[in-house]
């Protein structure tokens, strides 16, 4: 197989793998798990021709560890998993955040907790993506809604991870991962690909965790003459252990600020439907495409509904959601869980706008009737 040209029928997991390869990913470490395994299979087949390496690790703890290691050696790296594996990855996700290692973690969500329903979709890892690893931290997470978007968001995930020197999560789900749609891969040379900033000082003057003015330290690779000391212990700009309270405060503050001060650069949303509506749907991923369908169905019934689709989820787009809440009669949050992102919507609800949940927990793509019922409830 070689890179598919022209308009193709492709499943979301394959589009993810090709997005990664086109973004410059040259190392994949993973552990097989439904419904994400096709990403690993494409990487196993395709990466060698790009000079890359695929390795199947002993578990998901080792998988994320290996991609962190390979990224520090200079290779754009990623892994893919689903809920049970994502749980195992939480430990070293924190290491990646703390050591500021660019890498991408793809979570093709399925029904949980525990083994749940391995072949069926959910969107119930949303808060785990935000808070799953211990300790204060920031995270970037993106949520694709179509196969074509899976491709582009995977590229964006790599770009953001390199730009901010941090792990980026793609919150897919079984529907997006395993649905086949028509897709066209662009000419790779037409893509904007971001590479990590390399040191611009001599090796003697290099401190691996001395930040640039945007809070992100230029990054040497293992093997460079610029020596890298990457530590999961509290560290100063040298990278070596430092146990002073002010060092801890400065590090945690910088790690937060380097992302949250640039929230507007990260946030990506789509407004769909009429500008003004009686009810605004807020949704993401597979649920949001059902919402688009519902917008049309509601219109047939004479109900004006629009949609705010969150393409990026973390950091949460506080300002945009607050504005949406302020100019609608009611909000319905549609998600395939028992209510996760709705908590964030309520958090920024400065106008006390009524907020309702359309909860899809049937182990299937959320039914349009569930969303319509929530809309009718909101209109009562």
């Amino acid at each position: 197989m070689s890179r598919p040209e022209g308009i193709q029928l492709m499943e979301g997991n394959h589009a993810c793998a090709w997005g990664a390869i086109d973004a410059g990913a040259r190392f994949f470490a993973g552990y097989p798990i439904t419904p994400s395994s096709e990403i690993a299979e494409v990487c196993a087949r395709e990466l060698p021709a790009y000079g890359g390496i695929f390795i199947q690790m002993e578990d998901e703890i080792g998988s994320i560890a290996a991609i962190i290691g390979a990224s520090l050696s200079g290779k754009k790296s990623f892994t893919a998993t689903s809920g049970p594996g994502f749980s195992l990855m939480q430990e070293n996700l924190g290491v990646g955040i703390y050591q500021e290692v660019p890498c991408v973690i793809v979570d093709i969500q399925r029904v949980g907790p525990a083994t749940g329903l391995a072949t069926q979709p959910a969107q119930a890892d949303v808060m785990q993506a935000r808070w799953g690893t211990h300790g204060d931290h920031s995270i970037i997470a993106l949520s694709p809604a179509t196969v074509q978007e899976m491709y582009y968001l995977t590229i964006r995930a790599f770009n953001l991870s390199e730009r901010f020197r941090t792990p980026v999560i793609i919150l897919g789900d079984q529907v997006i991962g395993q649905t086949y749609e028509n897709i066209k891969l662009p000419d790779p040379s037409s893509l904007d690909i971001i590479e990590r900033i390399k040191p611009f000082v001599s090796p003697e003057d290099y401190f691996p965790y001395q930040p640039d003015k945007n809070g992100v330290p230029p990054m040497a690779a293992y093997g460079d003459r610029h020596i890298v000391h990457a530590s999961s212990t509290c560290h100063d700009e040298t990278g070596y252990s430092n146990f002073k309270t002010q060092t801890n405060r400065a590090l945690l503050t910088r790690l937060k600020d380097k992302i949250y001060n640039y929230t507007d650069e990260i946030v990506d949303v789509e407004h769909f439907g009429p500008d003004h509506a009686e009810v605004t749907l807020i949704s993401y991923g597979a649920s949001s495409r059902v919402c688009k369908y519902v917008v049309g169905e509601a219109e047939k019934e004479g109900i004006r509904v629009n949609l705010l689709r969150l393409i990026s989820i973390w950091p949460f787009p506080d300002r945009i959601v607050r504005e949406a809440l302020g100019k609608t009669g009611a909000v319905v949050v549609a998600e395939m869980n028992q209510g996760q992102l709705i908590g964030e919507v309520n958090r920024v609800n400065a106008t006390n706008t009524p907020v309702y949940l359309a909860s899809g927990i049937d182990g299937a793509l959320i039914d349009p009737d569930i969303i319509m019922a929530a809309i009718r409830e909101a209109l009562k």
Partner: protein
């Protein structure tokens, strides 16, 4: 010509339903349409209920599943029972007459797949056979596009027998 279609291919694992869904989808793409192909499957690697849903549209596709199917292929009793009470009268149900002995008598057509496959001398070409039967009854995609998609997806060694099965289905 109608360009929006919702097709359900239902049966059990091993009947090539997902592959048939791919071939139908690729044919629709060749015709210039948007396509969404989803599949349901269990955790077993072989057997069990299996289905593919193909939604074809000229417009951007939002809901990737079949809301009101235009055509259902039911190769097992379970597949037939799952849908027969829910489809509207415009929906054509094509079923395996050996599997479903007492059909509901709606807008439906029974075919003896087993006999056709024995005539063809190959039990593994069932998906090409039913794609032919589907296309004979509903012009979902053009015949040329379907043949192109078959050629793309079938290994050269078994392409001829699959094309034969497809053409046979078109005549049944």
């Amino acid at each position: 010509m109608k360009n929006n279609w919702q097709v359900v291919l239902a049966g059990e694992g091993g009947q090539g339903l997902i592959l048939a869904g791919r071939i139908l989808s690729e044919a629709a793409i060749i015709d210039g349409n948007n396509v969404s192909l989803t599949s349901s499957y269990g955790i077993a690697a072989r057997g069990g209920y299996s289905e593919a849903q193909v939604v074809i549209s000229e417009q951007e596709l939002y809901y990737p599943k079949c809301v009101s199917p235009d055509l259902i292929l039911a190769l097992t009793r379970e597949a037939y029972n799952r849908y027969i009470d829910f489809v509207n009268n415009d929906c054509l149900v094509i079923y395996d007459s050996k599997e479903i002995a007492n059909p509901m008598g709606r807008n439906e057509l029974g075919y003896d797949f087993k006999e056709a496959l024995l005539t063809l001398g190959n039990l593994k070409v069932i998906n090409s056979l039913f794609l032919g039967i589907i296309l004979k009854n509903r012009e979902i995609v053009s015949r040329e596009s379907m043949i192109s998609a078959l050629k793309k997806n079938m290994p050269p060694k078994i392409l001829d027998i699959n094309l034969e099965a497809f053409n046979y289905g078109m005549e049944m």
